[in-house]
C-alpha cells in the first residue's frame, strides 16, 4: 500500500533464552512474521491474549526492541535499523502511550515539564511559546491548567493517562502506538479516556496502532482489527466485518468468550471453550500454530500439521490464515451470527 503511515513487513522478534553452556540456546519466537500497514488517519486494533506477541510488535515499531528480521517503514522511510541518532528526528512522527500510567511518567518532573519535554527536545517551542503550547495541550486533554505544576504522584490514574496522552500528542505525531492505555484504569475512568482518544484522533487525524486484549474497546475505537495468536496475525478485517463475520476459528472463539454485560444476551450465547492453553512460544506447534486448540482440527488435519497456513485475502481486504478458509470458502460457523448481519448478507 503506497502512502501508508506505517508499514510493517515480515516482522520477527526472537529472544534467545537459557544459558548456552547449560545446553540451552533456546529461542522464544515472540513475533514470527507479522505484516500490516496503517493508512493515514486509520486506527488499527491489534488484539491478542497474553503471550501472543502484540506488545512486542509495538515495542519493535518504537525501536525499543531491535527486530530480528523484517522491515518497518514510517511514512515511507525504512526505520528498521536506523541508528539512535538517525532515528531522533523521526521520533517526532512516532509516539506512544503506555499501559501503566504510574511508571511511565517521570516522578521528578512536573506534569507541565513532562508534556513540554518533547517540544523542547525537538526544538519546536521554548520559553513563553512552550508554556502556551503546554497550556493548550492540557486544555485539549481535559486537564485543568494548574495541574501543570503538580507532580505525577498527586494525580489519579485517569489524570496521569491524560498527561501521557498530552505528551504523546504534543509534537503532533503521524503515528501513535497505544499499548493497553486503559486496562489499568477503573471502568468509569476508561470510558472518558477512550472518548478522549477518539475525539483527539478525529481532530488531529493521526494514525494509531491500538494494542489491547479487550474486544469491546477495539470495536468501539478502531477502523480495522488484526488478531494475533502465538506471534502471528491470524485474521485482519475491517471492524464491522471482523465482528460480524469472523472467519478464523480462533477469532470466533475469542469473540464467543468475551462477556457481554447483558444477562439476556450473555446467557443465550453459544460459547466455544478452547481446550488447553496457549502453547509455549519456545516450541510452537508445527504447521498451523492454532491446531493444538482448534475445535476444527479434525477437519484441517493432516494438512494443518505439516503446512503453515498463510494469510490470504478472501475478498475486500479480509485476510485469514486458515486452511479451511479461502476465496469463496467461508469457515464453518462455530458461533451464532447476529441476526442483522445475516439479513445484510442475504439482501
Amino acid at each position: 500500500m503506497n502512502g501508508a503511515a506505517l508499514e510493517v513487513d515480515g516482522l520477527k522478534k526472537h529472544f534467545p533464552v537459557g544459558s548456552r553452556l547449560a545446553g540451552g540456546g533456546q529461542v522464544v519466537y515472540a513475533v514470527d512474521g507479522v505484516s500490516f500497514s496503517i493508512a493515514p488517519g486509520e486506527m488499527l486494533g491489534l488484539v491478542g491474549e497474553s503471550g501472543s506477541g502484540k506488545s512486542t510488535v509495538g515495542n519493535c515499531i518504537l525501536r525499543l526492541l531491535e527486530p530480528t528480521d523484517g522491515t518497518i517503514r514510517l511514512l515511507g522511510t525504512d526505520i528498521t535499523h536506523l541508528s539512535r541518532r538517525a532515528m531522533r528526528p523521526l521520533r517526532r512522527e512516532l509516539h506512544m502511550v503506555f499501559q501503566d500510567p504510574y511508571s511511565s511518567l517521570n516522578p521528578r518532573m512536573t506534569c507541565g515539564q513532562i508534556v513540554g519535554e518533547p517540544l523542547r527536545m525537538h526544538a519546536i517551542a521554548r520559553g513563553r511559546e512552550l508554556d502556551d503550547a503546554v497550556a493548550e495541550l492540557f486544555d485539549k486533554v481535559g486537564l485543568r491548567a494548574e495541574i501543570r505544576f503538580r507532580y505525577p504522584h498527586e494525580l489519579s490514574g485517569g489524570q496521569r493517562q491524560r498527561v501521557g496522552l498530552a505528551r504523546a500528542l504534543s509534537v503532533e505525531p503521524s503515528v501513535l502506538i497505544a499499548d493497553e492505555p486503559v486496562s489499568a484504569l477503573d471502568v468509569s475512568v476508561q470510558a472518558s479516556i477512550l472518548n478522549l482518544l477518539r475525539d483527539l484522533q478525529a481532530e488531529l487525524g493521526f494514525s494509531c496502532l491500538f494494542i489491547t486484549h479487550d474486544l469491546g474497546t477495539v470495536e468501539y475505537l478502531c477502523d480495522r482489527v488484526a488478531v494475533m495468536y502465538l506471534g502471528k496475525i491470524v485474521e485482519t478485517a475491517r471492524t464491522e466485518e471482523l465482528f460480524g463475520d469472523p472467519q478464523h476459528p480462533y477469532t470466533q472463539a475469542l469473540l464467543s468468550a468475551a462477556v457481554v454485560p447483558d444477562p439476556e444476551v450473555q446467557r443465550k450465547r453459544r460459547r466455544i471453550v478452547l481446550e488447553g492453553d496457549i502453547p509455549s512460544p519456545m516450541a510452537p506447534p508445527s504447521g498451523c500454530a492454532f491446531r493444538t486448540r482448534c475445535p476444527l482440527e479434525h477437519e484441517s488435519a493432516p494438512r494443518s500439521h505439516e503446512e503453515e497456513p498463510l494469510l490470504g485475502d478472501i475478498g475486500g481486504g479480509h485476510l485469514v490464515a486458515c486452511h479451511l478458509v479461502g476465496p469463496g470458502r467461508a469457515a464453518p460457523r462455530l458461533i451464532d451470527v447476529p441476526a442483522d448481519v445475516l439479513e445484510a448478507r442475504e439482501a
Binding site: 471502568v187 470510558a191 470495536e219 462477556v259 450473555q266
Partner: protein
C-alpha cells in the same frame, strides 16, 4: 426465599486505623446469600468489595476493626472463636483469590496443597487424600491429574493454577465458595472455562457462590443476584435480570453505559463518562458518596446518606432520586 438464608450479613462495617486517619473500607453493608445462589458483588477498585469478603472469614490484618453480624449456620462468623473459625475456613466456606500466581505455595506440589484441607478437616490418610486430590483435579478438568498432583505451581499455566485454587477451595465440599476476582488475571478464552466450571460446581455440589468482580459481563453471565458497591456502601441490589434491565442508581446506570458492548460497540455513539473519581475512603462523606459525580445531586443528596429503599421486587436502591435515566 422463604427458608432462612445460608448467610446473613447485617450492618457489616470495617475500619482501618492508619497513620493518615481512619479508613472506612466498608460502611454498614447488609446482604444475604441463599443456598445454591450465586451472588455477584460488583464495584470498582477501592469500593470495599474484597474487604467485605475477607472480613467474613476474618482474613484481614489486625489493624482492621470489624463490627456487625454475619450469621452462618447458626453462628456469628464475626464473633466466632478462632478455633471455630479454623473449622469453617476451607471446610464450610472456601475462598478463591484473584492471583493464582501468588496464592499458591511455590515450594509444595499442587497435590499436597489440595490434600492439606482434606487431611486437616476430614482427617483423611495420606493415600486417601491423594486419591481424593486426583479426583478433585479431574473435577476441575485438569488433564492428566495423576501426573499434575506431583507438579509444582510454576509448572502450570495461569488458567490451570486458578483451577487448582478452585479444587482446593471445594475440596471439603463447602456450603459457600467465595471467589474474589477469580478470572481477572486470566485471558478471555480461559475466563470462559473458569465461569463454566463454577456453574458446574454449583450444579454438582450445590455450593452457593459469592463472586466478587469489577466486570459486569462476568456478573451478567453467572450471578443470580447482584449487589453494586460504591465507596464502601451498597448502592443497589437486585436480581440480575432486573438490575441490567432496570438499573435505578445513577452509578449503576453510569457503569453500564461506560462499557463498550462487544457486538454493539460500533453502534454506540459515545461511551458514558462518569465525571470525577472514586472518593477516598479516608474522607468518606456523611452524605451520598456518589453526589459529587452525580447528575441528579441536590441539596438533600449533599446533606444525608440515602437509605436503601425498595423500588421493585427484591430491588433496593440507596438513592434519593432513583430512576432509569442517567439524568433526572
Amino acid at each position: 426465599m422463604s427458608a432462612a438464608p445460608l448467610l446473613e450479613v447485617d450492618d457489616l462495617s470495617v475500619r482501618f486505623d492508619t497513620d493518615a486517619g481512619t479508613v472506612h473500607a466498608v460502611d454498614k453493608m447488609s446482604f444475604t446469600l441463599a443456598e445454591r445462589e450465586v451472588l455477584g458483588i460488583v464495584g470498582e477498585s477501592g469500593c470495599g468489595k474484597s474487604v467485605t469478603a475477607m472480613s467474613l472469614l476474618r482474613l484481614l490484618p489486625p489493624t482492621a476493626s470489624i463490627s456487625g453480624r454475619a450469621r452462618f449456620d447458626g453462628n456469628d462468623l464475626l464473633g466466632a472463636s478462632s478455633r471455630r473459625l479454623r473449622r469453617i475456613r476451607g471446610n464450610e466456606i472456601g475462598f478463591v483469590f484473584q492471583e493464582p500466581m501468588t496464592s499458591l505455595n511455590p515450594v509444595f506440589t499442587v497435590g499436597r496443597q489440595v490434600e492439606e484441607s482434606l487431611r486437616t478437616h476430614r482427617g483423611l490418610s495420606r493415600s486417601a487424600a491423594r486419591k481424593r486430590a486426583i479426583e478433585l483435579l479431574d473435577l476441575v478438568h485438569i488433564p492428566a491429574p495423576e501426573r499434575r498432583v506431583r507438579e509444582y505451581p510454576h509448572q502450570l499455566s495461569g488458567g490451570m493454577r486458578q483451577r487448582v485454587m478452585i479444587a482446593m477451595a471445594v475440596a471439603c465440599e463447602p456450603k459457600i465458595l467465595i471467589a474474589d476476582e477469580p478470572t481477572t488475571a486470566l485471558d478471555v478464552t480461559i475466563q470462559a472455562g473458569i465461569l463454566d466450571l463454577m456453574r458446574e460446581l454449583r450444579e454438582r455440589l450445590g455450593t452457593a457462590i459469592i463472586l466478587i468482580t469489577h466486570n459486569l459481563g462476568v456478573v451478567a453471565d453467572i450471578a443470580d443476584r447482584v449487589v453494586v458497591m460504591y465507596a464502601g456502601r451498597k448502592a443497589e441490589e437486585a436480581p440480575v435480570r432486573e438490575l441490567f434491565a432496570r438499573p435505578q442508581h445513577p452509578y449503576t446506570i453510569g457503569l453500564l453505559g461506560a462499557i463498550p458492548l462487544p457486538g454493539a460497540a460500533s453502534k454506540q455513539d459515545r461511551l458514558r463518562e462518569i465525571p470525577g473519581r472514586v472518593p477516598s475512603l479516608a474522607e468518606l462523606p456523611n452524605h451520598c458518596a456518589f453526589a459529587p459525580r452525580c447528575p441528579r445531586a441536590d441539596e438533600l443528596t449533599r446533606s444525608e446518606v440515602p437509605p436503601l429503599r425498595s423500588v421493585g421486587p427484591e430491588h433496593l436502591v440507596a438513592c434519593f432520586h432513583p430512576g432509569g435515566e442517567w439524568t433526572q
